[in-house]
Amino acid sequence: MQTDQLIAQLQSDAATKPRPSAVGWGFITICAVVAAGLALAATVGVRPDFSTAVETVRFDFKFLLTAILAGTALVALTELARPTGDRRKLGLLLLPFALLVGSVVTELAVLPASLWEARMVGTNYASCLTVIPLFGLGPLSLFIYASRKRAPLRPMLQGALCGLAAAAVGAFFYAAHCTDDSPLFVATWYPLASAILVVTGAVVGQRILRW
């Protein structure tokens, strides 16, 4: 086909069909949060001592950390969903990472060494490794769907970022259920659980985020 013909075709397509659009990121994010919240309410629920736990720093820190990870990952993933997105936004992810490292260092300083191992292993690692990926499945699907409507230049990276943001949303709600609050536990098991979603996102992204 001649390029002139193609241009005429595209032009008439633009005239007759509504222009392509993508669901807004705000709406997608709200849906992701609701999906993970419903998953928590419908399955394991919040821990029995939730009201007293919120008064402890360690418990609250889990929400701060996962919320900041979700926020920064979302900024990076919405940015990289456009062809002209600024890749330096990936640097934002250093913030939650630094926060996690800082919390571990603090915990090691205030906690006697004899307790380190017990706090790190905790009691809920098996549920942590299964529930976070499960809570994150809905958000992951939503983020991948929204990315597919756009134009990411690196499908695999985009998928991985979707997985990371989904893991953060899932972990935020899982944190309300889990009774292991030590940063040593969080730094060990949450990243492992997140890695499952990140790898899933990368593999799926590599396949379906091409355009």
């Binding site: 086909m1 390029t3 193609l6 241009i7 005429a8 595209l10 032009q11 397509d13 633009a14 005239a15 222009r19 392509p20 659009s21 993508a22 900024v75 969903a81 456009r82 062809p83 002209t84 330096r88 936004k89 640097g91 934002l92 250093l94 913030l95 756009r150 134009a151 230049l153 091409r210 355009w211």
Partner: protein, 207 residues
């Protein structure tokens, strides 16, 4: 790290504007937008003629880019095909352009993506003249798992006439006539002995 601070303070990144202001030179009152940016912006807000002119302009710009980027020798895929693939992608993803940004970086980001994509898809079918690589592709002929020494050993286990016939034909490469003459027997006898020998060998090989 500066990036992080800028992000959280919602501060625009330092760009030319602040530099101009600091030396008290007024920035241009309206930033000049490229003709292409204006065309696409008008096109997206419903001016179909502008959209067509944008696509024509894009095709002209992309032709040079594609001719430079596309390696020669992709059968059934030339620079004009790549131009068309990019135009289709531009059309399908036109909502990912932000009207406030210049259109050229966006256009070329898509063009690069599609150029790499095209190379992946069509590059696999590059045709190579195999005569340059015959040495690399040469494979030892299959001797059914036997090497010459094993063949000799196996033949040696045959007895009398049969061994002489099989040795003459299979290893020395003599014809049936030559073998019959040398052993002073009939050709029929050579054939019978040869086949019996091969049968014994194959049965032994199978067991």
């Amino acid at each position: 790290m500066a990036e992080l601070f800028d992000f959280f303070l919602l501060r625009p990144r330092n760009d030319d504007h602040s530099r101009f202001e600091s030396i008290d030179v007024k920035p241009a009152t309206t930033p000049t937008r490229s003709e292409m940016s204006v065309l696409l912006q008008d096109g997206l807000s419903g001016d179909n003629g502008a959209y067509g002119r944008f696509l024509e302009g894009a095709a002209r710009i992309l032709r040079g880019f594609c001719a430079r980027k596309l390696p020669p020798g992709l059968p059934g895929f030339d620079a004009e095909d790549l131009v068309q693939e990019i135009l289709m992608a531009v059309h399908a993803k036109r909502h990912t352009w932000r009207t406030e940004e210049p259109v050229e970086p966006w256009l070329f980001a898509i063009a690069r993506y599609k150029a790499i994509d095209a190379f992946r898809k069509h590059g696999k079918r590059i045709e190579v003249d195999i005569s340059d690589h015959v040495d690399a592709m040469f494979v030892e002929p299959d001797v059914s798992g036997l090497v010459a020494r094993d063949v000799m050993k196996a033949v040696d286990t045959l007895d009398g006439r049969t061994r002489e016939v099989v040795t003459a034909i299979s290893i020395e490469g003599k014809s049936i006539e030559e073998t019959a003459e040398r052993l002073d027997i009939s050709r029929g006898a050579v054939r019978v002995a040869f086949h019996r020998g091969l049968k014994i060998l194959s049965e032994r090989d199978a067991s």
